[in-house]
């Protein structure tokens, strides 16, 4: 097994033994250092690869049938930049791929990785890409082999694996794919280039418009996926903000049957008028009813299908409240720890060659899963329920059967448990439920009595902690039984607005519309938050978000249309299948962009004005604390004095000479308005962050009961 600590690893061999002068070895490229380590330990004859460093870059020397050098990358080492011209001008249609350290200030460190690949590839006579088996991984490996290793992409082979298990890695090495998948590479590359063209041109157009109008620089961005995502968020927000509820009435009753009280609902869930509802109430309250009819239905509920990345992200949000991005990061860590298979998969299939029994046996070593796994192992034939979606590269997400070598953190533990239980549940039998529906006749008005119980748990046994089903038990009933309508209740109700999207429902919507990829959707949602276009867990579009969409709808309507991005995705797939050329797609995109950018330029002034106002409003809102408690008409805001550079809270009416109230604020750390009101005095509060301390809510009311230095713990 690989060593647990990096200290243990670095001490194994003090000096490098492979230099540029060494000849005849195989160079294996991986996407990340952790994967390189796993592959090295799996392939080394004695399970003791040598861990070396060159220019601070780790790599592994492995003895097998021949000498292997396993060198990791750190994700993409190459990126796209504008070929010539100033950074602020647009449109830009000339671009090239360059090392990331030449393009991004923050990526300076990638230089030594490229140099290490270049130096260590000198003596290699065989090359293998062992990057993740997907479009991104293929592209990462391709650029390293092409540029850093000096044109070795044509002779390189490809390792294909879905888990980092030793036997799978050995098989992937022994039986590599003879060539890189150039169709995938072409498709992945086109996607990057199309996204770059849209992103750079439209983002620059927005930013330049603001600069033109206000003379100030403010980062604004949009893109091929960001645009449509923000667009349907804004559409939902508009529907919510314009919503007018309509009233209706609802009747329910406490019914006494054989000394137990059960709940019954009036046949019409929405009673249109209060008069009608009151008539029913009068006629039924305290009266006797008769069971006119009842039927019992047995329902068979099929087991859930195994996780693809989207369903895992949605389930993790629903159960634990983790954002899609966070779930993907956690799953990625579990994959690197060889606890689960590759998580960035669209597949809902579990092929038998993964070894169901072997995995279940291995899982049964853990106390929590022992009984559950044994139950499945008793079966003669194990057949999982599968979904429709397929992914040519990987199966659905499943546990490898390995148990954690070290105690997992709570998030990792939760996601792993979720994946393990979902895997086991997929093999479970149908759950059997009984639904009882009875109709009560009370003075010729009908009420429904509903019961629900589980007859056979089936797959639910395995997935129990994550199921939210409530059983409703009814006493034994028969037609003609009399019941007492103990109390009928009338409730005033109103129709509700459509719900805000949350991370989970947004992800589902993106999947349905086919925008973004399994790997990028989480990131796109995060970018919308980072730019200030949306906020909160229940995603609310900000004023800035509305204005961005407004501008894009007016001047570049097809970039916010989900149709455009769907069409592009289809074209990418055609490139993948070899039925379309990258050059054709790029030419089409450039033609479209030229028209849109021209339209943008014509209206730069009005776009700039609208966006500047929105930015100003957004910035003011960021500093707005609440209503002024003294004058009642002004608003309290966080102000920084131009003269003293000190910050404090003041009233907006100060500028009209109507209110002079002010409150001091801490001069260190970050301060911003908090959502919570003070528990003691109900004044608004501010959130204060000091470096390496937990943020806390500060009540600035000098007469607050909780004063005297007491902080309101969050």
């Amino acid at each position: 097994m690989p060593p647990k600590s990096s200290k243990e690893m670095t001490n194994t061999v003090p000096e490098p033994i492979v230099t540029e002068k060494c000849q005849n070895y195989t160079l294996i490229v991986t996407e990340k250092p952790d994967v390189a380590k796993r592959i090295a330990y799996a392939l080394d004859r004695n399970g003791k690869p040598k861990h070396l460093k060159k220019n601070g870059v780790p790599y592994f020397v492995v003895q097998r049938d021949r000498l292997l050098l396993i060198i990791p990358a750190i994700g993409h080492l190459y990126t796209i930049v504008q070929e010539k011209g100033k950074r602020s001008i647009y449109p830009v249609f000339n671009f090239k791929w360059v090392p990331r350290h030449l393009a991004e200030r923050k990526a300076k460190g990638t230089r030594k990785w490229i140099e290490t690949f270049s130096e260590l590839s000198q003596g290699a006579d065989e090359f293998i890409s062992a990057c993740d088996y997907d479009l991104e991984g293929s592209l990462i490996g391709y650029f390293i082999l092409k540029y850093a290793c000096g044109g070795k992409e044509d002779i390189a082979k490809r390792m294909k694996f879905s888990t980092l298990m030793k036997d799978e890695l050995e098989k992937a090495y022994e039986e590599p794919i003879k060539h890189l998948n150039f169709a995938w590479i072409e498709s992945g590359r086109t996607r990057h280039e199309v996204d770059w063209l849209y992103g750079i041109n439209l983002s620059r157009a927005l930013t330049a418009a603001v600069k033109y109008w206000s003379g100030r620089y403010f980062t604004l961005s949009t893109g091929r996926v960001q645009g449509p995502t923000l667009q349907f968020l804004a559409a939902r927000e508009k529907a919510i903000r314009s919503f007018v509820p309509i009233p209706y009435w609802q009747l329910s009753a406490d019914v006494e049957i054989q000394n137990s009280i059960v709940n019954a609902e009036y046949e019409k869930p929405h009673v249109e008028t209060r008069a009608e509802a009151e008539a029913v109430l009068q006629a039924c309250n305290g009266k006797t009813g008769e069971i006119k009819n009842f039927d019992v239905k047995t329902i068979y509920q099929k087991s859930p299908i195994p996780f693809d990345v989207g369903t895992l992200q949605r389930e993790a949000y629903k159960i634990f409240g983790y954002t899609p991005r966070r779930t993907l990061l956690i799953a990625q860590n579990l994959y690197l720890d060889v606890l689960i298979s590759y998580p960035r998969t669209d597949s809902q299939k579990l092929p038998s060659n993964i070894g169901y029994r072997k995995i279940l046996k291995a899982l049964s070593r853990k106390f929590e899963y022992k009984q559950l796994a044994s139950k499945l192992l008793e079966k003669d034939c194990l057949k999982p329920r599968e979904g429709i979606k397929e992914d040519p590269a990987h199966p659905s997400i499943y546990p490898t059967g390995n148990l954690p070598e070290k105690p997992l953190g709570i998030p990792e533990k939760r996601i792993w448990d979720l994946i393990v239980r979902r895997f086991m549940a997929a093999f479970g039998e149908d759950a059997q439920k009984e639904n009882i529906n009875a109709i009560l006749d009370v003075n010729r008005y009908a009420f429904f009595l509903k019961g629900r119980r589980i007859l056979k748990e089936g797959w639910m046994l395995f997935y129990k902690p994550y199921i939210r089903t409530q059983e409703i038990f009814l006493p034994p009933l028969k037609i003609g039984d009399f019941v007492w309508m103990r109390r009928v209740t009338l409730q005033d109700k109103f129709t509700c607005p459509p719900p805000h999207y949350n991370h989970s429902s947004l992800l589902k919507k993106m999947e349905q519309l086919g925008i973004g990829t399994k790997a990028t959707r989480g990131e796109i949602i995060q970018t919308l938050f980072n730019r200030g276009y949306v906020m909160d867990q229940s995603i609310v579009v900000t004023e800035l978000g509305f204005n961005i969409i407004d501008v894009l709808e007016n001047y570049s309507s097809n970039v916010v249309s989900a149709l455009l991005t769907k069409e592009l995705e289809e074209k990418m797939e055609q490139i993948q299948n070899g039925t379309m050329k990258r050059e054709t797609v790029l030419a089409e995109v450039i033609e479209q962009l030229k028209l849109q950018i021209a339209h943008f330029k014509e209206n730069e002034e009005s776009i700039g004005e609208a966006l500047t106002i929105a930015i100003k409003k957004a910035k003011t809102e960021e500093l707005l604390i609440g209503k002024c408690p003294k004058c009642g008409t002004g608003k309290l805001v966080i102000i920084t004095s131009r003269k003293t550079k000190k910050r404090f809270i003041g009233c907006t009416n100060y500028f009209n000479k109507l209110c002079e109230i002010s409150f001091p604020l801490p001069q260190y750390g970050t301060v911003k308005p908090a959502k919570n009101k003070c528990k003691a005095c109900s004044w608004p509060t501010v959130l204060v962050w000091l470096k390496s301390k937990k943020p806390w809510n500060l009540c600035f009311n000098p007469s607050c009961l909780l004063k005297n230095g007491k902080r309101i713990k969050q």
């Binding site: 314009s242 008028t273 509700c496």
Partner: protein
């Protein structure tokens, strides 16, 4: 022209957001009147006080309440 409610750019009296909300408020009145028998003013008050009413619809209802000419 600026929206009389929020000050955003508008083609007529209201920006497109408040115009949509206004149409909604007006359109729903007939139903409210039928099921509750409320007058126009009472209806607007009920809409303003209702927690399910959207922010723009609330602003429009308030504006209509305070402007008798509308």
């Amino acid at each position: 022209m600026k929206c009389v409610v929020c000050g955003r750019d508008a083609k007529e009296q209201y920006c497109k957001f408040h115009d949509r909300a206004r149409n909604n408020v007006i359109h729903k009145f007939a139903y409210w009147q039928r099921v509750t028998g409320l007058s126009w003013k009472e209806y607007l008050k009920a809409v303003v006080e209702n927690s399910y009413t959207g922010a723009w619809a609330k602003e429009i209802a308030e504006h209509l309440l305070n402007n008798k000419d509308e």
